[in-house]
Structure formats: C-alpha cells, structure tokens
Amino acid sequence: MSKFVRQLLPFGSLVLIICILSAFRPDTFLTMDNFLNVLRRSSVYGIIAIGMTFVIISAGIDLSVGSMLALCGMAGAAVMEAMGGANPQGASLVYGTIAGIGVGVVCGFLNGVLITKLRLQPFIVTLGAMSFYRGIALVMRDGQPINIADYKYLGEGSILAVPVSIIIFAVITAAAIFILRYMKLGRYTYAIGSNREAAFHAGVNVDLNLICIYMFIGVLVGIASMIQVSRTVSAQPTAGLGTELDVIAAVVIGGASLAGGQGTIVGTIIGTLLISFLRNGCTLLGISTNAQLIVIGLIIVIAVSVDQLARSKGKELQSTGS
C-alpha cells in the first residue's frame, strides 16, 4: 500500500497538468486528436521505459537504448530495402520488422552476457554499447537515413479507430505487469535488485535472469524502434539521441530506485505520460522546446526529492500496511 502512496505524487501531478491544460487550452488540448497524438508519441518511449523498469529494478541500467533504437531501425529498414528493392512492400516489410526486433534481441543479449559473464558494471557495459551501436548505425549508410515510403502500418494504422501503436503499447504494458507480478522472472528481478547475493544463495540463477532482462529490453527497443521508423517512414541513424535519459527519468519519476529492488510498471507508465503531457502542454502554451528542457529537469528533481523525503519520513512506518 505504501507503493500506492508513493505513486500518488506523480499521478497527482499528471492529473494536475491535464486539468491546467484543459482549463487554459480547452480547444486544442481537450481533443481526441491531441490525446491520441500524445499517447502515440508516448508509446515509443513508454515501451522502452517498461523494459528499463525491469533493468532498474534489478539494480542495473541500460544506457544503450537510444543507440539501439537507431540501430534496430536502420537494420530493419536495410532488410526491407534489400528484400523489396527501392519501394519495399508486403512481405519484405514484415521480414524487415522481424529483423529489426531481432537486432534488438541480439544487442540485449550481448549487453547481458558482458554484464554477467565478465562481471562488468551495467553502467560501463552499456556506456560502451551506446557508442558502439550508434557507430554501427551511422556507418551503415554513411550517416544517411533509409526511407521506406510505404511502411506505415505500425505508426499510422489503427484497429477500430485505435492507433496500432497504442494497442501495442497497451498489450506490452499488460504483459509486463503480469510478468513482474505473477511470474518467476519478475519476482527474481526484484530479488536480484534487492540483494543479489541472497537471491543467488536461494538458488536463483542470477546470470540467466539478468540476461533475460537485458534481452527483454532489447525486444522492446526493437518494437519501439519499428514503430518509430513507421511513424516517420524512414530510419534515422541519429534517432533516439538522449532517449536513454528520458526513459530513465520516466522510470525514476514512477518511483523506482536506482539502488534496485523497487519500482512498478504502473509507476513507469505514469512517469512516461507525465513527461509526454508536459511536453505537449508546453508546446500548446507556446513554450519553446529549449525551455521545455528546463521544465522537465525541474520536474525530475522535484518529483524524486519529494519521493525521497516521503520515503525517509515513512521509513519507520514501512510495515504499517495501511
């Protein structure tokens, strides 16, 4: 129940922002189009943030997600082009999508293996990977994007008027909540993050679980990447610059602790939406993208420090269970 209280703050801020914007810009903000737009844009970040939640709960970090986002997109698009020629259609788009996601899996696997088998710190491994994957994405086409004009379904398509990307986001959210709450992988993620030694001594296969976690975020980055490519109908080697920080911010605002053992998917979703609506609101209110950075920076620090304060005050009361 204390988890619930902790999420009250970001959730409250989210509601507050929505109310303020509704009051000030009812005509532009309070429209279905705008909401769907915000959600669609959130889906890319949100999907990655879900993976990052697992990684952070396990007391790890993945700094390479932005670069991976670019690499998956470039790889997927390259496969589409190679199979479908100048204007790929149909099956080649499907294969390209699978290939893009596959590259994410491989990247995550590499990160996971380096972290567990060489016993390197996640920060260091993924810092290196961040540069490495970005480099490959840039070298592939000498820094040029790959345009796939008809790759629209993931980004623009909809089922019963609901955008496909939002449906994917929702399905992944539900699946992640289930894994984290009701499956061993989720339980072990918490245990490893809380006390890796204790988990190991209780028979948890720590290495295997960590590799799974990094592969999981790899899959999610792959999916997010293909949605991104589809939205812009092109794969950019510079895509996702700084994404890792936005995503980590969303997870942390959602109540996860970088020390591990703590965090929830619902919190992360709230954190993601908070940042998205903030961006959207700033734009609608005519605040420049540059100034938005200041606002977001402030929000991160305020959210986390209030959370910390509440936590240290409530520390003695943790077992109240009320």
Partner: protein, 510 residues
Amino acid sequence: MIETAQEKEGEGRIGLRMEGISKRFGPVQALQDVNLTVHEGTVHALVGENGAGKSTLMKILAGVYGADRGRIEIDGKVRSFTGPEKAIEAGVSMIYQDPDLAEHLTVAENVFLGNEPRGALPFMIDNNVMVNNTAELAENFHFDIEPGAVVAELSTGDCQVAEILKALARKASIIVMDEPTSSLSESEVERLFEIVRRLRSNGISVIYISHRLEEIVGLADEVTVLRDGQVVHSEPMSKLDIATIVRHMVGRELTEFFPARDVRIGETRVKIEGLNSGAKIRDVSFEVGAGEIVGMAGLVGAGRTEVARAIFGIDKKATGKVSLDGKAVTIKSPGEGIANGIAFLTEDRKRTGLCLNLACSWNITLAGLDLIGMSRTISPAKENGIAEKLGRQLAIKWAGADAPAESLSGGNQQKLVIARWLLTESRFMIFDEPTRGIDVGAKKEVYGLLNKLAKEGKAILFISSELGELLGVTDRILVMRRGKLVGNLKTSETSQEEIMHLAAVEEANE
C-alpha cells in the same frame, strides 16, 4: 570486578534516565511507557525476546527514531534528539552488530571522520595528529589496534574496537552495544569483555544487548528485562540468575531446553568424500544418516562454512564426491543444490539471506517457488497463505506477511530465513549458525524443529560456535581445524573439553 562495580552503584550517579518512552510502528506498539535508569560507570544489560523492543529503545536513545512520548535525561539534563548527530553530541554512541565504518579508510581516518584535525592549510587534514591521537587513545584504554590499518582488512572484532575508539574520540559517556558478540570468535569475545570492563572503570556507562545470557552473568551490573515493549523487571545482576532472567523474559518457566533424542538413525543419506575447496578445505569426508543430526564445531575461520558452500555448489571449483541416498550428484550452483534436495541456511542473514526491502512472504518463498507449484505463475493469495502458516508455526512477530523484511526485529528476520528452508522440504539440510540472534524461547523452538526434521528422516548438518547447543542437540560432532576434519565424535561420549582441545589447543602447538 563485580564487587567494585557494585560499590560504585550504591553511591552511583545516574548517567541516563529514560522515562515513559512509547513508540508505535503502525499497528505495532513497539514500546509502551518504558523507564530505564543507567548509573554512571556501570554495565547495564538489556534483555528480552525477539521483538521485545530492545533495539528500538536504543535507536530512540541514539536519535535514530523519535519517541512518540517520553523523555530522556542525560547527566540530569533533559535532552531531545532530532538526529544521531545530536545524540553523539550528548555523549551517546551506538555500536551496531555490523560495524558501520568507511571500509576504504584507515582506522584513524574512521575514528576522526567528520571531526578531522586541521592541517597547516585550510581544508587540509593533519594525518600525523590523527594517527597519533588514535594511537594515544588506544593506548589509554589498552586497545590493541593499528591506527594505520585499512578497515576492509580488519576482522569483525577489530572493526568493533575501531568503532569503540570512534565513540571515545567523540567523548561518549554512554556506549550502546546491540548484540556485539554474535559474529565474534571465542577469543574476540573475551577481548570485547575486557574492553567493556575497561570502559566501565573509566566511568563510561555501557548498555549491552545480548541473547547469550551467560555473557550477561559475568559482565553486567544491572539487568533490565523487556517483554512486548514493556519493562517487566529491573534489578542488579547480583540478585539474579539465568533461570530468573529467562522466566521474566518469556513469562513462564522454560524447562528441558534440549529435546530428547529418540530418533532411530537410518541408512546413510549423505556421503561426502575427499572434498577439496579453495586454498583451505582439504580432503574432508563424512557421512550423515537419515534422521541424524551431525554437528560441526571449530573456531571461526576453521572452514566450516566453506565446506557447506562447496557442497551446495557455491564454490564452483570445489572437487570431491557428493552422494545423496547412494547416488553420486554433481552440484554446480545453489539452484542445482536445491533441485537435488539440499537446503543451506547461511550464517549472515543480511548479506546472503534476506532481500530486506521485499515482503516477508516473498523472502520465504524465494527458494521454493518451484516446489509449491508456482514455477509458471505465482498466486499471491496462496503464497501469502503459505507464508502466514509458516509464520505461525515459527511464531514470527510481524505486522503481516506482506510487511517488508527490514521491519522485523533481528531475531524474527532469522526466523524468516529458517522458514524459507523449511518450505523446500529438502532431504539434506545444512544449518549454519541458525540460532544467531534469536532469543532463548526461539532457540528452544529451533532445537525442537531440528529434532522434528530429523524424525521425518532428513539428514541434518548443524554448524555452530556454541558448543553447548551442539552437545545438546546432535548425535555426532565433527570438528574442523584449519580446513581439515580432525575429529568425528559421538556426542554421548565426548565433552566440551575434548572438542575444544581438538579445535583449538593443538593449533597452538603447531
């Protein structure tokens, strides 16, 4: 020693008076209207069952928690602490069970942490002064410690000495020790007692918490007993004995401490042959029968835990043959150990036992999710039910199975780990210091439990540093010295002296 202390006590000035202290954690009333009076220059023992509120009372004194009600008087002045710094200023220092020192700094640097002598230039630290002052302080109290040693390389006992020095450097007049001996070796315990007595003769009051009542008899001037958050008794030690203290602690007579062993030992369940591990363990071989409780004695550092780690697959490079029920098994990880029906309760619950910020129920089921049919999906309701049941069986005191493990008292945390391994229903169970930090009543329950598990036909290896409990509970005792097995004795035909001799005395001759 004791006489002089009592003379002092007659005329003794009151150093600390805590009055009407109450503290509530959510639904748990941890302390209720507690009064505690400590005379200057005495050793005051604080005893009570697990969860009685001892640590909480001391944390209030040390400014870690605020009391809901009550007042604290030190040297006749009313004090209210808003944080540990304020308590330290007022002369209260706390020595925790796991020393909290900066590992990479030297003893001297730790002693003067936050209080460094100024060097020639601003922001410079005068290292010489620091080292010399530390050495002088150690000298004054006859402590034997190297001021320049790096803390990470010290033994637990030396770390405690460093902590005590730190307290002395801060001019502490009251030093609180919360279960200081639970991870010390025999000789370190002796040294600590010596230090405590020296502190006392220098006019410092020591508040001493321990579950080892024999220690208290020889050390304390006065004893206060807490039960369920209330003081039930407070009297000079000279008027008390262990049985009386125990009666006050548990509120009833506690008889027949060790269970009667009437188990028939069956066929060999566990056979270890030629076990080698690390630089230490050499050629260890032994057997444990079904229904047999085999003890393992030895000094701290003799390699008892290493043997267990090697069997359980933690030290992967270990060699040797392990057979269970006649079948040879290879175990390369704790997971495989559990799958083969081995349980290993580790000695250090904080480091290798519990995920402190996670729910009690999660901690209990961590090793056994597969065994309770939750390898695919976990049913939280069912899981909670299982945890609650084990909690009742072991009389764990908690706000509920979903409370975080860190909210439990030390002894109840220990029961949590015991519950975890009960759940796995293993055929070979290794218990490494299972009674560390638990109270007399709970100890008796654990002994009874070992007995019951043996009756069910399990093979049990019981590692302990307390010879008394080994002699009381086991059928056979293995003695380790420097990584080798030097004795395999029938419990009914051996004695404390023989074991000590094998474990230690000969070492001196080597």
